[in-house]
């Protein structure tokens, strides 16, 4: 099996991707963030939140955005703020920086509008991107990987997958109870997972994630068999859970060694933020 190739981020954390994350603090700055990301080969997150949130819901969103931005797969972050939003871009950038991440801030209102923010953002992103390109990936021990498992209702197969990672000496983490799919991917990446194994329910399509590669594992359902090419691992007829788990482990290690996942190949970079309360 391939050895993971990654990027040391100081301390124990190793990333398997080297993203420049262009992170809007609010839906209103996603358009500018997307244009900046496209110009600098960065990952631009599109989300629909960040304004008129309160209490635990606001803190939860801030915590997840901060966690995702400090995931080891992210080499540097450019926060794009509007300026009048509830989830303030300046505060978000500050918290990301306090956790040791390289971060800069672009503010649409602070910079004087869309055109000025784009110019500022493109300059900053080009500079940060050039810096990231200078970092060479190095082989590292698989024991340094943290794999997130999003395997709702998978029963024996989920247990076998967990056991396979355990036997390989790879740490796995689970999302909070009841959270699955793209919402789980955000939670897992915020908790430090650098690669995610995800098994969507039989009637749902697999989705990639902006920050961590997702190894999509299918079910033997009509839908999943029909769209097998959007999956990384599809179970064979009568395949034993242990054999499937072994293939999932191999696919995960290949993804960790830099091989593009099915979702990365088709450009699926979803970002679905779980909300705890209604928008005001």
């Amino acid at each position: 099996m391939k050895a993971p190739r990654g990027y040391g981020r100081g301390g124990a954390a190793v990333g398997v991707r080297n993203h420049l994350l262009v992170l809007p603090s609010v839906v209103c700055s996603t358009h500018v963030a997307g244009q900046i990301a496209a110009a600098a080969d960065g990952v631009g997150v599109v989300h629909q939140h960040g304004c008129l949130q309160v209490g635990d819901d606001l803190r939860h969103s801030e915590r997840l955005l901060t966690g995702v931005a400090t995931n080891p797969n992210v080499g540097a972050v450019l926060v794009v703020s509007l300026g009048c939003e509830t989830l303030r871009g300046a505060g978000l950038a500050k918290r990301i920086g306090e956790r040791g991440q390289i971060v800069e801030l672009v503010g649409i209102q602070a910079d004087g509008g869309t055109a000025a923010a784009l110019e500022h953002g493109r300059e900053a992103a080009a500079r940060m991107s050039a810096e990231l390109l200078r970092r060479e990936p190095a082989e590292f021990a698989r024991e340094e990987l943290t794999v997130g498992l999003d395997l709702p209702g998978s029963g024996a197969e989920a247990k076998a997958i967990e056991a396979a990672f355990d036997a390989a000496g790879i740490a796995t983490i689970q999302p909070p109870a009841g959270i699955e799919g793209p919402e789980a991917h955000v939670e897992l990446a915020a908790a430090g997972a650098v690669i995610v194994v995800s098994r969507p329910p039989a009637e749902e399509a697999p989705m990639g994630f902006a920050v961590a590669p997702v190894i999509a594992v299918g079910h033997r359902s009509e839908l999943h068999e029909a769209i097998a090419e959007d999956f990384d691992v599809s179970p064979a007829a009568g395949e034993e859970p242990g054999a499937l788990a072994q293939r999932v482990l191999e696919a995960t290690l290949a993804g960790a060694a830099g091989e593009l996942t099915a979702a990365e190949s088709r450009g699926s970079r979803e970002f679905v933020l779980r909300r705890l309360a209604v928008t005001m």
Binding site: V27, C28, T30, H31, V32, V46, H47, Q48, H49, C51, L52, Q53, V54, G55, L58, L82, G83, C84, E85, T86, R88, I108, Q109, G112, G113, T114, A115, G178, I179, G181, P182, E183, P200, E203, E204, A205, P206, M207, G208, E222, L223, A226, I227, A228, E229, D230, R266, G267, S268, E270, F271, V272, L273, R274, R275, A277, V278, T279, M280
Partner: protein
């Protein structure tokens, strides 16, 4: 001054733009929808975060929002991209409302890449449908205008909002429909609006939507003052939600209140309506457009570049400083009222003319910038 023009649709409604919309039925179809639109000049795709669990308590609300958006008359035709056969329900709802719609799924085309390839033929036939539509003089009674504010400041209630109110009153007097929204920003102004209601029933509903909102927020143990006014509002000189609300309600002028409607619902016959939406700029704009607004007039004090993928959004600044500073993001400057270079009444006429000109095809600042934000309103009960 321009003449109001638009596109008459087969179902009798009028659009002021002529878009072909590629709509993912669920987030799992986002990539395929974007891929289809990317290869087709003139098509616009939205992406959203609706995963589509069938047991999600918000399923009906989300379907109404997506269907309403797709049926806005600014859309000539829709391509729904689904994951599997279950997504045919959204397509059927769109078709039932008289919209031209095609449907394809990942399941039929072996996944995202096959769906993008298969979508090319469908999208070009829909683009042909759109291309034969012609602009013609449009009766103003067919116009539905959303009245929105975002990033308010202390001048909002003095300059841009009352000027927009004057434009709204003229539109209503001429037989058009205008729609105020953002219930959280009407807290404290509900009785002023209710007093203008055409019937006791409408007046009671106006008070009730605000009270329901306050109760809902209270039940969640949330203090609305944690979100309203926003940090940006406070920096702009607003002090309380009530002060913000009294300014926000001025966008609706003095016309009688004809009705109060649910999020993304269609208004009835002509007049001034209030739609029950959150204050969030994008969620509410999606609701207004899903309710049939062909254009949204949007006042801003802090300066926000927001736009809709399918509707022009006419931006009006409350102060001249932000208009100059965010050059190219804002269409009209109502801040000139403060230095006396324009009267409130003249500004109202300028906004009315700006709405008509934008409807007649002049691109707004947000259209020139390509702003096309989209967000789905959730009722908040999901995940218990």
């Amino acid at each position: 001054m321009s003449e109001l023009t638009g596109y008459r649709r087969e179902n009798g409604r009028w659009g002021v733009r002529n878009h072909v919309l590629v709509l993912p039925a669920r987030a799992g179809a986002n990539v395929a929808a974007a891929g289809i639109a990317a290869g087709a000049a003139g098509a616009v795709a939205v992406r959203h975060e609706w995963v589509g669990h069938p047991d999600d308590p918000d399923a009906a609300l989300v379907r109404r929002t997506l269907a309403g958006f797709a049926c806005n008359p600014n859309v000539a035709a829709v391509l729904v991209v689904g994951v599997g056969p279950a997504d045919a329900a959204l397509t059927a709802e769109i078709a039932a409302r008289g919209q031209r719609v095609e449907f394809l799924t990942l399941a039929e085309h072996r996944g995202s890449a096959g769906t993008i390839a298969a979508g090319q033929g469908l999208i070009s036939s829909l683009l042909t449908t759109a291309a034969v539509a012609v602009r013609e003089p449009m009766p103003i009674s067919e116009l539905v205008v959303g009245l929105e504010c975002g990033g308010s400041d202390a001048l909002s209630g003095i300059t841009a909002n009352p000027a927009l109110g004057i434009a709204s009153d003229r539109l209503v007097a001429e037989g058009a429909t205008t729609m105020l929204s953002e219930v959280p920003e009407l807290v404290g102004a509900e009785r002023i609006l209710a007093a203008r209601a055409v019937s006791a029933e409408v007046g009671e509903r106006m008070v009730r939507v605000v009270e329901d909102f306050e109760r809902e927020v209270e039940a969640l143990g949330i203090d609305i003052r944690g979100a309203q006014p926003t940090p940006g509002n406070i920096e702009g000189g607003l002090t309380t939600i009530e002060e913000k609300s009294l300014g926000a309600a001025k966008k609706a002028g003095n016309a009688p209140l004809t009705g109060v409607i649910d999020f993304a619902a269609q208004p009835g016959p002509h007049g001034l309506y209030v739609m029950d939406t959150p204050g969030h700029d994008i969620e509410q704009m999606v609701g207004l457009v899903a309710g049939g607004c062909q254009i949204v007039a949007f006042t801003t004090g802090r300066g926000t570049p927001t736009g809709s993928p399918i509707a022009p959004c006419l931006k009006i600044s409350t102060n001249s400083r932000i208009f100059a500073r965010m050059a190219g993001d804002i269409d009209l400057d109502a801040g000139r009222i403060v230095d006396g270079s324009v009267t409130l009444a003249e500004m109202g006429e300028e906004i009315y003319d700006g709405i008509v000109a934008a409807c007649a095809g002049e691109p707004t600042a947000s259209e020139r910038r390509g702003n096309s934000e989209f967000a789905i309103r959730r009722a908040g009960q999901h995940h218990g």
